[in-house]
């Protein structure tokens, strides 16, 4: 399967792109000029024409750019999160990609009381600040476009890398999401935690 990893210039995207090379034919792209991964290509992730070309040969996409964005500017955070997924997904649909794995953050449910057993069936509880809202914007764009039935979007919420979700577990979850049969819905959502309060299954 030819998989394009978007956001490979960021730490998580680079790790996933490297790891997925075992078993998949991986293209690694991102907004940054350079990345510590062989064959990396810089692409304007917010520009449809560029993304159409970048995804032309892809069979599946792993979108990690919203997980660990470089910017701290509030408006840019929101814009890149929402518009980035919008551009990638609409381009993916256009070129015939059937599945996207969207990497999001467990932070969206972190503000529930510690004693609650929180899984993906709980409503996101972001704070009223851009850094917290941005992953929800990315997820909503993914969910609403998936609802149209033209592309499957598997959203994986990861915790802090190494502290809460290991790269190996993230990689395993992404691999599974790329190949698993879908349940009949075009959108799916799972939590991926190796330790801590969210560990104990992908529910």
């Amino acid at each position: 399967m030819r998989v394009t990893v978007i956001g490979a210039d960021r730490p998580l995207g680079a790790s996933l792109a490297s790891g997925l090379r075992e078993g998949f034919e991986v293209a690694a792209i991102g907004a940054g000029e350079v990345a510590d991964i062989e064959g990396y290509g810089q692409v304007d992730l917010l520009e449809r024409t560029a993304m159409d070309a970048a995804l032309a040969d892809a069979e599946a996409v792993v979108y990690t750019a919203a997980f660990d964005p470089e910017t701290v500017d509030e408006q840019t955070l929101l814009d890149e999160a929402a518009r980035g997924v919008y551009v990638a997904l609409t381009a993916a649909v256009e070129v015939g990609v059937r599945r996207m794995v969207l990497v999001s953050r467990l932070d969206l449910v972190r503000d529930y009381p510690e004693e609650y057993v929180v899984n993906a069936q709980w409503n996101p509880l972001p704070r009223a600040e851009a850094v917290s809202l941005a992953p929800m914007m990315a997820e909503m764009v993914g969910r609403e476009i998936a609802r149209m039935g033209k592309v499957e979007v598997c959203c994986l919420r990861l915790g802090e890398i190494d502290a809460e979700t290991t790269v190996d577990d993230a990689l395993e979850a992404v691999r599974a999401a790329l190949v698993e049969e879908q349940s009949g819905h075009s959108w799916s959502l799972a939590h991926v935690a190796s330790s801590g309060r969210f560990a104990g299954g992908r529910g």
Binding site: Q75, Y86, V93, A128, A130, M137, M140, V141, E144, M148
Partner: protein, 267 residues
Amino acid sequence: MATVSSGNVVLFGAGGPVGASTITSLKDHYTLRVTDLRPMEEVAVSPPQSARAPIPEVLAAPHENRVVDITDYDQVLAACQGMDAAIDLSVLRPHPVLAFHVNMIGAYNVAKACAACGVKRLIHTGPFHTSLNFNADYWHDFQLYDGIQLHPGDDLYALTKYLGGHITRVFAEREGLEVLTFIFTSFRPREVLPEERGRGLHPYTTSWEDTGASLLYGLRAPDMPSPYEDFFICSWLPHDKYRPEKAKRLLGWEARDTFAELYTRAD
């Protein structure tokens, strides 16, 4: 108490026909800060957005007219200072970049500024795209009540306003700002022309005049049951497709115009 019976109200994106109706409805009850990306004097001499759509009147003191770019937080913050309520009518439809900036980031800027300035009530507005050509768009459903989760699909306008609406919801739930979201679809004038009789109408329709009135009711309504409430703002039509029940129950607003002449045979 979030009810705003008098005082200062800022309007964002007031240069369109909804802004025109809102200005007409509110100008005698509140001191308005009327803002738009374009000077209101320029808006007032521009052609109407559509045939028979109202054009905003330029208000004199004590009201104020101000150019505000809603994508610029500092401008939005300055516009919210000293205000009791804010009404966000801003919208940008087709542009692949600016739609996100105006409809989503603009909503963030307004909600954040309202929270920072202690604005009591924010009325946010957005569209219900009733037919988007996919199975989950509700087009083939009936008896839909306010509060249903909209499904904007990949429609740029619908999706970006949807995102902006959810941002205001989070501010309401987390920051104590009371947000009322008014959802619109199809507007038309109150007056039915002779040649229009019996021609039918969109099942989610609101007159410009009722639209303006709904915003007055929104400001004056008592505290809401929850910090975020969304409302269908439309006429209750015999199609029974959309039921604006909550607006009547919580705002006391009901459309005056029910357009019987449009859906009744003319002969």
